[in-house]
């Protein structure tokens, strides 16, 4: 039986309460919106690039503790990374929360490992991946908004 503490760990609760990088970036080079129409979670991602590096990344929106904490920890983790590194992290993150057996080594995931417990809550996976999909769209300059119920996810 999944343990509640696995999902609502202190780190997640903290980032929900005090989300990092929770702001807009004026005239951001890239923006993308993520939307989960089933529960009403919304996130807007703002990204600035210097060359191939993410020089600044921030988000705004409303949603559950999982989606907010995920956006907060994601923006912390992606800052300073190259687009290619961000892409690899996105795939590792997805694998971590959907695949029990073949997921990435949790030691390589840093603070993001806190979300590994979500794989026991399939109905909440989309909450955690929503900001990542929005970031993915922003980095690929997809201006169209993305949705958890569309083709993008």
């Amino acid at each position: 039986m999944p343990d509640l503490r696995e999902l609502y760990q202190q780190l997640i609760l903290d980032h929900n309460k005090n989300p990092r990088n929770f702001r807009t970036i004026e005239a951001a080079q890239r923006t993308a919106e993520g939307n989960n129409p089933l529960c009403g979670d919304r996130v807007t991602l703002y990204v600035n690039l210097e060359g191939d590096h993410i020089s600044d990344i921030a988000f705004q929106g409303s949603g559950c503790a999982i989606s907010k904490a995920s956006a907060s920890l994601m923006t912390d983790a992606l800052k300073g990374k190259t687009v290619q590194e961000a892409e690899a992290m996105f795939h590792n993150f997805q694998d971590m929360i959907t695949k029990k057996e073949s997921g990435p080594d949790l030691d390589t995931m840093g603070k993001l490992a806190v979300f590994s417990g979500i794989r026991d809550y399939p109905s909440r996976v989309k909450c955690a991946t929503l900001p990542w999909h929005a970031a993915h769209a922003a980095l690929h300059n997809h201006q169209a908004s993305i949705t958890t119920e569309g083709e993008t996810l």
Partner: protein
């Protein structure tokens, strides 16, 4: 007009002819096998009845009996089983007619559910009678299924929606409703009981006001029929829809009630087998009611299962169940109002067993997940009623919805689990 079915069908014994036992929740509970199970190591506390209700053993057995002993296509074969299946299917229609006190069996059409019923009205009556500049009245508290089909029709026809607002208690503003009528008003379509607010709308009054303006009215009864007896002849509404699965019956079956003269004048909805009288490539004539609206092989087992659900409701003291539910609702309001930071969404004077709320700024999905860990099943989200969320300025809400098999212990478990939510997020 008497239906051809009346000639074929032997009369059923009149309703309520057998004595019913006074309502007893714990005895009733035992009739629902699923309620005995454990979830996450806790006894299941099922408070998501507005999404779908659980099924009594007799409904499950009726489905099994149909497929084991009666299965054949209806209205077709000359063979024995086909007649058995046809009789069972039409007997179910008659039970439904009696349950809602429609005048004739043929006014009760089998559809997939409330959503299909509303779409049927929009695509037949609506397309036939609503044109550019015409108006359809709905309300701010509608489920999306009573907004989207009308919106689609309005887009196609150049018609427009007029919306009855709600007050902060979650009640319809009847005075405003009266002012929305004009010579372009062609139809009213309003929910009987709100799936989010629990508000029991004054159906009879809504109908009377519409009829004063010679406008037909549809009532979405999906959340009404599980909580109270409805009477088509007393209500005098023109259309009424509900879903079987919320009435303790199977999924995939529901009822569209329509007054016979309206259904007669409406064009068919879908074309196919069963709904025709004569087909050639030059000319097709359509069948009579109810076949005209039941193209293709219907959900025979579902209809029979819904009939069994109605038999079940007839076997318990349904009026007593209604009273019991309102006592349970009062108990829940009292207990939940002690949860710190809990705010009810919808506190209508006249309310069914639907309790929506928000707790501080904790997102309903987080509330729902934590409750689930204690075996408490609730709904979290916008409940397919985004205009209500907008009215109360919330992205989503948590909803506990009652049925007559719920107990005070269920409410206690919900309350305890909500206190736990507060602790986790403190």
């Amino acid at each position: 007009m008497s239906s051809p079915l009346d000639i074929l069908m032997p009369p059923l014994p009149e309703r309520a002819s057998k004595p019913v036992q006074p309502f007893n929740a714990s005895r009733t509970r035992a009739d629902f096998p699923i309620l005995g199970q454990q979830v996450q190591g806790h006894p299941l506390v099922y408070l998501d009845n507005a999404a779908t209700a659980q099924k009594p053993r007799s409904v499950i057995d009726a489905l099994s009996h149909y497929y084991t002993d009666q299965n054949a296509n209806v209205h077709r074969g000359v063979h024995h089983l086909s007649q058995v299946a046809t009789d069972a299917y039409e007997a179910a229609r008659r039970k439904i007619r009696q349950f809602i006190n429609a005048k004739t069996d043929i006014e009760c059409l089998f559809v997939k559910g409330t959503t299909e019923g509303i779409n049927l009205i929009a695509q037949t009556y609506g397309r036939q009678n609503i044109g550019p500049g015409d108006e359809i009245i709905v309300s701010e508290m509608e489920h999306h299924s009573n907004i989207v089909p009308w919106y689609m029709l309005c887009e196609e026809k150049g018609a427009k929606l007029r919306v009855i607002p709600i007050n902060d208690k979650g009640e319809l503003c009847i005075d405003t409703y009266r002012t929305l009528f004009n010579e372009r008003t062609k139809l009213v379509s309003v929910v009987h009981v709100s799936n989010v607010l629990g508000t029991i709308n004054p159906a009879k009054e809504l109908v009377q006001i519409a009829h004063e303006h010679d406008v037909p009215i549809h009532l979405d009864g999906a959340q009404a029929v599980p909580h109270q007896r409805v009477d088509m002849q007393k209500l005098d509404c023109d259309f009424y829809t509900f879903s079987g699965h919320k009435l303790f019956g199977p999924t995939g079956i529901g009822i569209l009630y329509g007054k016979e003269y309206l259904l007669d004048a409406m064009p068919p909805y879908q074309g196919g087998g069963s709904m025709i009288q004569n087909v050639s490539f030059e000319k097709i004539t359509y069948g009579v009611l109810p076949n005209k609206f039941e193209a293709g092989t219907p959900h025979i087992a579902g209809a029979i299962g819904l009939g069994a659900a109605i038999d079940y409701l007839d076997s318990i003291d349904f009026a007593g169940a209604e009273l019991y539910e309102s006592e349970l609702l009062e108990y829940a309001h009292g207990l939940l109002s002690q949860v710190p930071g809990l705010k009810f969404i919808g506190m209508a004077e006249n309310k069914a067993g639907v309790i929506s709320f928000v707790v501080k700024d904790i997102h309903p999905h987080d509330v729902g997940t934590i409750l689930d860990q204690d075996g408490v099943a609730v709904r979290a989200g916008h409940h397919c009623a985004q205009p209500i969320m907008k009215h109360f300025d919330i992205p989503a809400a948590t909803r506990a919805s009652l049925a007559f098999y719920n107990t005070k212990e269920d409410i206690d478990a919900l309350s305890q689990s909500l206190h736990k939510v507060i602790r986790v997020f403190s």
